[in-house]
């Protein structure tokens, strides 16, 4: 059984590398956190079918990482593009609405590389990203230190 069965294999390796390299003081992690209302197919369906459909259509946060004073909403993606950007713009708000926190809920991207045209939008949106090499880490320009 993979260590992080909810992540794609390449993303699981990336996440394991990140955990082995980071110096951020995480206290605990939650994985595959469902947020949003999901899509209800309506009362024409049995209750169990409706429940399943809603669950399967909810948005899924890869990792919610807790530190003493920040909740990080983390998207893990080998090559991160504008899909990840959209997720990281939306998921903190959805998470905070479902699970109110006394601390800031902030987005964070963990990736190997940014896709073409992704750096400028990420920087403009102010969403931090960490580029995780397979070898010992180097801080990325525009990102935060591991």
């Amino acid at each position: 059984m993979p260590r992080f069965p909810h992540l794609l294999p390449a993303d699981a390796n990336l996440w394991a590398d990140f955990l082995s390299q980071t110096s951020i003081n995480f206290t605990y992690f939650e994985y595959d956190i469902h947020v949003g209302q999901g899509r209800d197919p309506g009362p024409a369906f049995d209750a169990n079918i409706r429940k399943m459909a809603i669950t399967l259509s909810q948005r899924r946060i890869d990792v919610v990482a807790h530190t003493p004073n920040i909740v990080w909403i983390i998207e893990v993606s080998t090559t991160a593009g504008l899909t990840a950007l959209g997720q990281l713009l939306a998921y903190p708000a959805l998470y905070a609405s479902m699970f109110p926190q006394p601390w800031p809920v902030l987005p964070l991207l963990v990736c190997r590389q940014l896709a073409t045209d992704a750096k400028i939008p990420f920087d403009r949106a102010g969403i931090p990203y960490i580029l995780v090499p397979s070898t010992p880490p180097q801080p990325s320009q525009g990102g935060i230190t591991l």
Partner: protein
Amino acid sequence: MAHSIEDIPPGLRPKAKKSNFLAWLSVTPLTNSVKRSLIAAWRRHNNDDTFTPDDYRVALTDRSQEGR
């Protein structure tokens, strides 16, 4: 994120249950983007390269309202 094999009912996860998995997708009221994500999870789990365009057609056809 993508769906994982854990999102698929256990009885439909084995490779030998492909036809049942397709039938389940065809009658389950999910959007095609969710269905595609579930198919990808099933294929990763089974290291499957047997999905054909017809398989996708079956899976992505919404028959969930039939008989109602």
